[in-house]
Symmetry: C2
Subunit: 326 residues, 2 copies
């Protein structure tokens, strides 16, 4: 039943998945499937990090209500999709990363060393899913914090999805990044980060290996992007020493976001290029954080020009005020 | 303060408009600015249709809290945008179309002849805004029904915005439409409509000049598209005889949508190409209706692959059951 369909005009892919409507939500009456003791409510664990007593502090497992399911991998290959309405079985891999045994924790409230463990699992699962030859053309790693960000369960968790098609977002972004490289000879993100660090009015935080910026053309109030200062095309190439720096960096900026916005609902996405078309000089991975303050309405749906009621300069200033001064 | 900014990597345009945060909302305590008697709360009327007693039944006026403002048209032309961070004054035209004097009406509850008046004003204002030489490169006509669709005032109204930049949505759609035409020699929408009417499982309704379809790759549950059967690239070219047919057609399909979904929140958008790059053979205007049942979350933000928990075939069947049989 579940399948990937391609729009015959825009060529965007859509996942039609009626089973997803059945996934559990907070308040359904059941126990939280992510709390310690309820591990049997999830499929078999794929990865974990334990504390000194052997209790898990972060763990990963397949999603019980997957958007895409590796079991559905059929004989159909992309190149064999027939003429006419284009569809593929909804195959792929969809895992959940439970970020803490504590039901009421948030990513921002975790101690730095626990955040380091979460990032460690992010990278490990990214690398495993990216290596699913014949399945993955793109890996999306994301986190929905809060009901308005679309989460169905409040226990802190992230999700990682390997898809057999290239998504419209990364297709367009990659095209534009390559075009910038072809016309200027440099990586667009490296150039932007350099200029922003020189100017400063949209810089939120800086550490040895990362800068957090309020993007010049921010799409939503309080949007931030955490950009690696070393040019690296894909999230899979992040180094251990960079994760050591990213953990306190993320701890600081998410702390500032929580201080400014009370109980913020937000989406966090690791933006990284399609696996089979990485342009080593043009692509540049980063983490995008978009708080969910405002709704997208008809103008945005009809144009994809978003209306942002806040300047990124004001956001950067307010967030900087909550961070230790450099 | 308000301005258009271009993302330096994706080249998407964003409107940064802090004033929009101050617009009135239901429950602010004030009187509804769209109700008869409160006309002075809006800027001077630009168009209206009266009943036999000379009372307005539909009227248009500039938005008091415009996303884009014609007054801001500066000496800056698009071609003169300087190097570096690309920005333009937020000029354009933003009007509100009040669709009924009745505060609690909905588009679906209006009698057919009143809906004909609404459509008449839609077309008239579209043609006027499209003719704003030097301002408009694209006109977005849309309606937000209900809080979850992003409306701030419940009195039935639509909005129309003329922008000086081409939006990402229509830029991509036009590119794909032209590519389809170049490789096949026909309009993609004409081809899709013809095939759908032949098959039937995603056909919701058909009249002399229009077909309502549940799109093959529907992006949200209950999405419908009302497609003109005559090939016409732009909404501005719709004929009077077609509006005579569209009014009862829209009355029927919105009535079915309201019957199936209780008090549906939805966005309605007239999709039409950029004004200065109409491809007469490849572009094909249509009306897109997207109910707001589900939220977009991190996966969608990171990929723009949407997950739809309902098949369009099931939606078409349920909606057809609420419509008079052909």
């Amino acid at each position: 039943m579940s399948e990937l369909r391609q729009d015959p005009i825009t060529h965007d892919w859509v996942i039609i998945n009626p089973e997803r409507a059945r996934r559990p939500h907070d308040g359904d009456g059941g126990e939280c499937p992510f709390c310690p003791g309820n591990e049997s409510q999830m499929p078999e664990e794929t990865d974990r990090i334990d504390d000194a007593q052997g209790r898990w502090i972060v763990r990963a497992a397949p999603n019980r209500y997957p958007t895409l399911d590796v079991e559905r991998r059929a004989a159909v290959r992309y190149s064999e999709v027939p003429e006419g309405w284009r569809r593929l079985p909804a195959y792929g891999q969809h895992e959940v990363i439970v970020e803490s045994p504590l039901h009421d924790a948030t990513l921002a409230s975790l101690p730095v060393e626990r955040l380091r463990d979460v990032l460690e699992i992010y990278v490990r699962r990214f690398r495993v899913l990216a290596a699913l030859t014949g399945v993955a053309r793109h890996v999306v790693l994301f986190k929905n914090q809060g009901r308005r960000a679309g989460t169905s369960l409040s226990h802190p968790h992230a999700q990682i999805v390997a898809t057999p098609v290239v998504s419209p977002e990364v297709r367009v972004r990659t095209q534009e990044e390559v075009a910038i490289f072809d016309s200027t000879g440099h990586c667009g993100m490296c150039h932007v980060a350099g200029r922003e660090l020189g100017g400063g009015e949209r810089v939120v935080h800086r550490s040895a290996h990362f800068a957090t910026l309020a993007p010049y053309a921010s799409r939503v109030p309080w949007q931030i992007q955490i950009v690696p200062l070393r040019h690296a095309p894909s999230f899979g190439e992040v180094k251990s020493v960079e994760l050591d720096d990213l953990a306190p960096h993320l701890h600081a900026v998410l702390g500032a976001l929580h201080a400014v916005l009370e109980d913020p609902h937000y989406n966090l996405v690791v933006m990284t290029p399609p696996l089979d078309q990485v342009h080593r000089l043009a692509n540049h991975w980063f983490i995008d954080v978009q708080p969910r303050i405002t709704l997208r309405a008809g103008f945005e749906l009809g144009s994809r020009i978003v209306v942002n009621v806040q300047t990124p300069e004001a956001a950067a200033q307010a967030l900087r005020a909550r961070l230790p001064q450099a």
